[in-house]
């Protein structure tokens, strides 16, 4: 049972939490604010917080000069594509492990998890070499495949934990009712698992969008997503704070919004179901 809390205590909690929350959020807020300043105002001494001439100019310049849309499009294709591909491979696998478990199911799940822990740098050169050999270097398809593979264990695990919560009797009922395996998955399992599949999708789009090892090392100009685009600001253009901020804001905005929707699922996905 909840207990009545004194207003005084609640006020203290609120002030403290908001202060810390704003402090943690401040770098993002500052970036967003700066993106609306002119370059001169961005490095003004003392710094300007809210009272400056708001302008959208930086956004226009970033788009015009750097072809921002192309990087954005690459990010969308790679993050979306790898997630959809991953789901196509993972849904049947997770179904098998959740509803037809065998003695080896647990071992397979653990093994899949272990591949996620393989340090990327340990296989950097082989992948780099294979990419050159197969003509995949700096292609969206190549990156999509790699991101699908590195996130596949998380997708399988998340789906597995969601599927486990669907009572097996319901699937058996469908089988008794004459549904074939395909119909069982299509008409019963998938509709019931939609919330779980949606959150899996969301989390994996986020992870793929922000992935910054393979996207930096396997792309050049053509297939570079936003992570690599922003990295190109490291010098000397990074000194143009307002433009850097505009580019950054555009790169993180979509995912911030998606992320806020998926906070609950995030915990489950990132702890492989160990914390719910």
């Amino acid at each position: 049972m909840a207990r009545a809390v004194t207003t005084r205590r609640k006020t203290i909690n609120t002030v403290a939490a908001w202060a810390i929350g704003l402090l943690i959020f401040f770098p993002i807020l500052w970036t967003i604010l700066t993106s609306f300043k002119t370059e001169a105002q961005a490095i003004n001494d003392p710094p300007l917080f809210l009272f400056f001439d708001w302008t959208l100019e930086n956004y226009a310049v970033v788009q015009e000069r750097s072809d921002y849309m192309r990087f954005l499009w690459n990010s969308v294709i790679i993050a979306g594509g790898s997630t959809v591909l991953g789901l196509i491979v993972a849904v049947p696998a997770a179904w098998s492990m959740a509803f037809v478990p065998s003695k080896r199911t647990k071992d397979i799940l653990m093994w899949m998890l272990s591949t996620k822990m393989l340090p990327a740098v340990g296989v950097l050169y082989p992948i780099y070499l294979l990419f050159i050999e197969m003509g995949l270097l700096d292609t969206r398809i190549g990156l999509t495949i790699v991101l699908m593979l590195i996130n596949l264990p998380i997708i399988v695990w998340m789906l597995y934990t969601y599927f486990k919560e669907i009572p097996g009797e319901i699937l058996e009922a469908a089988r008794m009712d004459g549904a074939t395996l395909k119909e069982e998955i299509l008409y019963i399992l998938t509709p019931m698992a939609i919330p779980g599949i949606a959150s899996t999708l969301l989390l994996n789009v986020i992870l793929a969008w922000n992935e910054a090892f393979w996207t930096l090392n396997l792309t050049a100009a053509k297939a570079a997503p936003l992570t690599a685009f922003i990295a190109s600001y490291s010098s000397p253009e990074g000194l143009f704070y307002a433009k850097l901020s505009a580019a950054s804001t555009m790169a993180i905005a979509p995912i911030l919004i998606l992320g806020w929707f998926s906070q609950k699922q995030l915990v489950r996905g990132l702890t492989f179901g160990a914390v719910k």
Binding site: P167, E169, I170, E172, A173, A174, R175, M176, D177, G178, A179, E183, Y187, I188, P191, M192, I194
Partner: protein, 334 residues
Amino acid sequence: MGQITLNQITKSFGDVQVIPPLDLRIDDGEFVVFVGPSGCGKSTLLRLIAGLEDITSGEINIDGKDATEVPPAKRGLAMVFQSYALYPHMSVRKNIAFPLRMAGLDKAEQDNKVEAAAKVLNLTDYLERRPGQLSGGQRQRVAIGRAIVREPAAFLFDEPLSNLDAALRVNMRLEISELHQTLETTMIYVTHDQVEAMTMADKIVVLQAGIIEQVGSPLELYHTPRNRFVAGFIGSPKMNFMMGAFSAEYDAATIGIRPEHISVSHTEGKWSGKVGVSEHLGSDTFLYVDVDGLEDPVTVRSTGEVAFRHGDAVHLTPDPEKIHRFDNQGLRMA
């Protein structure tokens, strides 16, 4: 038609044999109840008949045809699950229509059959609701509706009432019995509750550790239990068992006497003891009597009016006609 024969079937999970070779014949139109303590294999047996589990060896015949290798949907059986297993994302109408849709019936025909089933089960007003918006009893009826529309050769019920509260359970028990009388279809019903078994069954199959202990009508089981296990399992309150000097008198290793076959008196009787606990139910009184020379108290069922109190000295007399004698293997002696 709904005649099912199990021929020497066995089931093992890995190295563990949960059903040793077993034979059983279920006649068309019969209401058969599998009863036994939890873990006795009754649900497994039902799932073997349904086809949800493979049998390890043996043969299942449905209406004279070998169904051992036939997938669940093709056996012509319908099942009502313990959790009801309704599809939560579908309306009641779609739930009931699902097997028809899978069978490829056209929409009008589906609707007709669903409406008819809904009428029988008093679900007409709820057809557009989701299972989540229904009460336990209504969900149960939807599950039954989904089974009825298929017009199966036999219905399989897997502890269908165990998730309902006591009052509702009695109601549903009656409804299922009525349904059986109306449809005259074979029903196989699994429960751990011997009251359900006694009240509903034409034929009871008592199982323990995968072995059939006895098959018979409720009254056969009540009057002539084949062994101590069946004697103790069927009947409520449980039969009293006595050994030692008590049974030697009757030339048996153990004797059993049901609580309702013992008379109790303040003044005279065969066995004497003291009243421990007495439970007054209104219609009946259950006395737990600590009899001299016995470790466990003897349960006695008496009329509602008798007033015995804790500590009263009483005398018990069994009805000699109703004493069950068992040999040292626990088997019934003639």
